[in-house]
C-alpha cells in the first residue's frame, strides 16, 4: 500500500472514531478518502482488521464503557453521547458485545475500588498487572511446560 493511501485510510479511521457533534456519516468519510466504496471497505479492513462500520461501532462501545465506568451519566445519556438514538439498540449492542447490559456494567464499575479521576484497573487493565492473578503454571519455562 502506498503512503498516500495509507494516510487517507488513517485519516478515515480518525474520523470514524470521532463521535461527538463532529461525527460524520460513513458515506461522507468514504467519499473523502477518495477511494471507491467497495475498495474503501476492503482496504480499510485489510489495514485495520475491521470494516469502517465495525470501527465506528467499536468506538461507540469503547466510549460507552469509559462513560459508564465514570458513573456520572445515566445509561440514556451515555447512549446519546455515543451517537445512538435508540436506547433499545444501544443496550442490545452493548449486551451482545460486552456480555453484560450497560446498567450492569455501570454497577460493576461502581463496586470497584477506584482512585478518583482514574478508571477502574479491572476494566481498563495495564495488562502486565494481571500477572499477579495468574496461576503458578503460567511461569513454567518452556522445557517444563513441554514435559508436563
Amino acid at each position: 500500500m502506498d503512503q498516500n493511501k495509507f494516510e487517507r485510510l488513517c485519516r478515515a479511521r480518525r474520523m470514524l472514531v470521532e463521535l461527538g457533534e463532529e461525527a460524520r456519516p460513513l458515506r461522507e468519510i468514504a467519499r473523502e478518502a477518495g477511494i471507491s466504496p467497495f475498495h474503501f471497505i476492503r482496504q480499510f479492513e485489510a489495514l485495520f482488521g475491521v470494516t469502517p462500520h465495525q470501527m465506528r461501532i467499536r468506538a461507540r462501545l469503547d466510549l460507552a464503557k469509559v462513560l459508564l465506568a465514570a458513573g456520572e451519566k445515566s445509561v440514556t445519556e451515555v447512549c446519546m453521547e455515543v451517537g445512538m438514538s435508540s436506547l433499545g439498540s444501544f443496550s442490545d449492542l452493548f449486551l451482545r458485545r460486552v456480555g453484560v447490559a450497560p446498567s450492569a456494567y455501570q454497577l460493576r464499575a461502581r463496586s470497584m475500588i477506584v482512585v478518583p479521576g482514574m478508571l477502574p484497573e479491572k476494566l481498563f487493565p495495564g495488562c502486565l498487572g494481571m500477572m499477579g492473578q495468574l496461576p503458578a503454571s503460567a511461569f513454567r519455562n518452556f522445557e517444563e511446560a513441554r514435559q508436563a
Binding site: F48, L123, L128
Partner: protein, 128 residues
Amino acid sequence: MRIKLTSIMVEDQTKALKFYTEVLGFQKKHEIPMGEFRWLTVTSPEGPDDLELSLEPNANPSGKSFQEAMFAQGIPMAAFEVADMAKEYARLKGLKVVFKGEPAKMGPVSIAIFSDTCGNLIQLYQKL
C-alpha cells in the same frame, strides 16, 4: 535479570491470536481467562524457546490514543527478525497482509513494515 516476556497491545485478543498464530506462524503458549480479558502469550517456533510475547488487551483509552497515533505516523511497535525477507514477504502477501511498501535495504538490514490488523505496525528485518 533477563528478558523473558515482552508485550504488544492488541485491539481484539481473539483476532490477535488468530493473526499471530495462523498468519505469522507463532505458537500459543498461554491462554488464561481473566474476566473480560485473557492472559495470552505466544512464542516463536524458531526460538528462543521460552521468550514470550504477550498479546495485551488494548482496553485503556490512553493506550488506544497512543497506538493510533503511532500507527498513523508509520511507527512500528515491534520488530521481528526473519531469515529470508523475500520469502517471508511473499508468504505474508499471499495471506493478504498489508505492507507499507516493499522490503528495503537500510544500512546493515533489509526491512519491511506491515499492519498486524490489531492496530499495530510491525517491522520485519533481515540481517544482511
